[in-house]
Symmetry: C2
Subunit: 551 residues, 2 copies
């Protein structure tokens, strides 16, 4: 506007003054360790943080400390490492799981039923009893549980219990009644109903779970907001300062926004919308900007190509070893997958595709190869889980720049089940972290929380050993797929950030990146995997501010 | 945290420096006029604005100017007034209207049909032709138009045209086909289908419009975002710096958020969610905070008690004078209304209730009286339109602290129609601005854009004269309801802000409030109503930054 007179001198003076006005913070006396952007280990004893919560400088013992400080924190010589980035989790699912009936860790059907009974007594006013975390494989049951067994502990109210992997539900008779399900009910495409003499037994697999959608009361936004707060608590207590949310619904997004709007969003959430419709409804013409000082961004879309191995939904090239003629459930045809990927890619959305079986991975890699020719640029195609990959397909990750987003702890949880599902001769590309890395592809690690605990330390230990918490099998399962300590750590930090287009702001402690870090008692690089598994987070800081401290 | 050492001296020094660091701006040499918070006129010649876009000081010619300035603007003696606050509009509807077929201002059915034909030729690829703004009252037709008449200009594609008040649609035969509508189709509750010999004629009133919901392709988010940008352009060109959005859907909200996230939200939007479900889905446990530096807030919910007068949907105490036995359409029972109001009030959401007919206003006032006893505090119940109020009910606005949110230009558009609908003896409480003000209640003015133009100047002129753009009727229609110049201005600024819980930040130019203002050529307080009607906005500024300048 012509009448505006810029008073340049004043502005320059103001700019000079404002540099002086903002003082830094100093984290002093720590055993600091991080990877740099090249994956090299950097050690430091102090860190300067600017007033926007970004790392300004890493200092050695002999380096000069800044003169103007807003505050200083004495780390008492403890180990300071970058906050963990969980490359694959379900934030709201995690919060709800923490607030609902939890059957994880149950060792027998009886123990699970006892927990259901206790929960029902504790919440006499809840219309529906909702729970999750059961795994009949851990019960040595050799079969799915039944509605009749649930009826024996809760005959009067509907009970709806998701399997640990989310790919099957176990319900009681009142739940089936409420949903109007009987012997005549057909499973929708992509789903299956377990039956005995034609009667549903109480187990509904994959898309058959949707038969209950109308009957189950939806959580209200106020309950969603509580779940998000609960999820943040757990993430911070586990040293996870950023997480990729795999399958954000509009309701989830609104909870994220409400928290952000009120300054209550602490953890950084890299969001992948649940399906194309949510992606468009939230993002409109493209991914969102980074919001709330890098605490939220809609990066892309989460799609599902198949189900899970435990519920025999994973799509295999050959039939399941333990169910003849059955090769899993295709949730999308190859043409549908490519249409959806195109729809996302044309507007610059990233795609993260759930593929567990070898056929699902092969089809997804083929689709990515086709997309590559149409959509140029830095696309960072992601395959989520990539659990069973035909060894012949392994090189295709690196060839297409596809990131394998994998969950180390799944390997120990699934090992025995995978052997039964696939038989002994089809395990060569199972949970093949090292092979994928060595082929030149990037691997990002996560937990699939709430399927597994969000604690990253058991994940690091498993990645290095392929042994479970009891040290089984000794020397590791398919031990050639063990990765090095640095590879494991990198996949949980730097490359998990890269997988979410966030490596310029989080994933390591380097000047210009956010000062998100965790304080633990011992040195991560000098501890044994068994000790790392037992690491406890003492403090978690985000953007240079403390957000969690253990009791 | 115990180890944090606050370095108090440094912080204080930093705070002192930062005060110096932020320089102010000066708007100089203006004929500044505003109301203060008591409604008194204040004149000034210069305004100091702080670096957050807030008014810091109003200065007289003799007052000392600040020394440290970031920039200075010379107003060349022109008049500077606060930005207008439109208390009732439809932001997205306004944007879409500007991008779709516009039949407003047509003087005959032939002219309207010609415009439809031209539009169809201009957009040969649009599947549906969507338009609005028609008003058979302005055509001297004495009846509604018909599908057959539309077929004569567009036989090959569906055409769907909303009446100027949004309370009826006019469609062609292809549109009815596409929606599967024939002689057997029944109108839903709250709606009506015009028929001749049992066949639908092409006019669908109020909720009967929803029969087309499934058939009409929904705009995509990218089109919504374009509509929002268009709406902002029009608002700023008319000097409207804030608007209450009456009926925000989740899709609308996402557009507002995307614009805000990208720094493209200029106008301030006070949002009232469309119905309780959107209110809860967006707001969750309560109204949102002010977002984007006071540019967006979800304040409450918009509810509808009845329809509009033109389409005989307004709910009257006695039957319409021109349709015996028909008293309008109740869109909610009294019990439903109170349930919804309770649902909003319990979580602190404000309610803005569309009530046009005298019966609708009486029922809404009764509901508010009942709410008052349960929900204490500063509630600011709003009745939107309050067009026809039984004189006996007028004092109930002030008694309950209810704000009458009214649209002056509706009075001139509706005058002849209202006389026909109500007859000569039931007009005592029609568009009764002055009576409501004198009873002690607050009146907020708006335009109901896109029903009327968002230009506030004709509204000011109408409010002062009750004459239309041609000076009819001379001396004003029911002239005792004319308001003073200051009352009209206040209802378009200070009290429109008050109606949206925003009077602490906008609505007048006072220290601490946002520097939202408009520059016009002449003095608003010294110009005749006829001249004010012709005022053109030369510049619009929001938060101390120029956002519009006329060519």
């Amino acid at each position: 506007m012509k009448n505006i007179i810029k008073l340049a001198t004043v502005s320059v003076a103001a700019a000079m003054l404002s540099t002086v006005a903002h003082a830094d913070s100093l984290i002093e006396n720590v055993n600091g360790i991080t990877l740099d952007k090249n994956g090299e280990v950097v050690r430091f004893t102090a860190m300067v943080i600017d007033d926007e919560g970004r790392v300004k400088e890493l200092l050695d013992r002999k380096d000069k400390r800044p003169a103007d400080l807003d505050f200083q924190y004495d780390g008492e010589g403890k180990t300071l490492i970058p906050g963990f980035v969980d490359a694959h989790g379900h934030v709201m699912g995690m919060g709800f799981a923490a607030l609902t009936l939890d059957l994880s860790g149950t060792r027998s059907l009886e123990e699970a039923l006892q927990r259901v009974r206790d929960y029902a007594e504790r919440y006499p006013n809840r219309q529906w009893l909702i729970g999750n975390g059961w795994n009949q494989e851990s019960w040595g049951l050799g079969r799915f549980p039944t509605a009749a067994e649930l009826d024996s502990v809760v005959p009067d109210r509907p009970v709806f219990l998701s399997r640990v992997d989310g790919h099957a539900v176990w319900v009681n008779s009142r739940a089936m009644e409420a949903a109007g399900i009987d012997a005549k009910t057909q499973a929708p495409a992509g789903g299956a109903i377990e039956r005995k003499n034609g009667q549903p037994t109480g187990i509904f697999v994959d898309l058959a779970e949707r038969l209950f959608d109308q009957a189950i009361p939806q959580p209200r936004p106020v309950e969603r907001d509580l779940a998000l707060m609960k999820a943040q608590e757990i993430l911070l207590a586990n040293g996870v300062t950023a997480i990729a949310d795999m399958g954000t619904t509009m309701e989830d997004w609104q909870s994220f926004r409400r928290a952000g709007d009120k300054g209550q969003l602490k953890v950084r959430i890299i969001s992948y919308a649940a399906e194309i419709d949510n992606m468009i409804a939230i993002g409109g013409p493209g991914p969102s900007p980074w919001l709330y000082d890098d605490r939220l961004r809609l990066a892309g879309v989460k799609l599902y190509v198949d189900g899970a191995l435990g519920s025999r939904g994973a799509l295999l090239k050959k039939p399941y070893a333990d169910q003849s003629g059955h090769s899993g459930l295709a949730l999308l045809t190859s043409a549908q997958l490519k249409n959806k990927m195109s729809r996302a890619a044309m507007d610059g959305f990233q795609t993260a595709i759930h593929a567990i079986g070898d056929q699902a991975n092969a089809e997804t890699l083929s689709a990515i190869e086709e997309m590559q020719s149409s959509y140029r640029g830095d696309r960072r195609w992601r395959i989520e889980h990539a659990q069973i990959v035909d060894p012949a397909d392994l090189p295709r990750f690196a060839q297409t720049g596809t990131i394998a987003s994998m969950q180390p702890v799944h390997q120990t949880s699934d090992r025995l089940m995978a052997e039964v599902r696939l038989g002994p001769n089809r395990l060569d590309g199972a949970y093949a972290w090292k092979s994928i890395l060595d082929s030149g592809a990037k691997v990002a690690f996560g937990t699939d929380v709430p399927v597994e605990s969000v604690n990253p330390f058991p994940g690091l230990a498993v990645a290095m050993t392929r042994e479970d918490e009891n040290g089984e099998p000794f020397g590791g399962w398919l031990p050639r797929e063990r990765v090095t300590r640095i590879e494991a750590w990198r996949a949980y930090t730097l490359d998990a950030a890269y997988a979410g287009f966030a490596e310029d702001r989080i994933g390591s402690l380097e000047p210009g990146k956010r000062a998100d870090f965790v304080i633990v008692a011992d040195d991560l690089l000098l501890s044994s995997p068994a000790d790392i598994r037992k690491f406890r987070v003492e403090q978690t800081w985000i953007a240079g501010r403390p957000v969690y401290r253990s009791e």
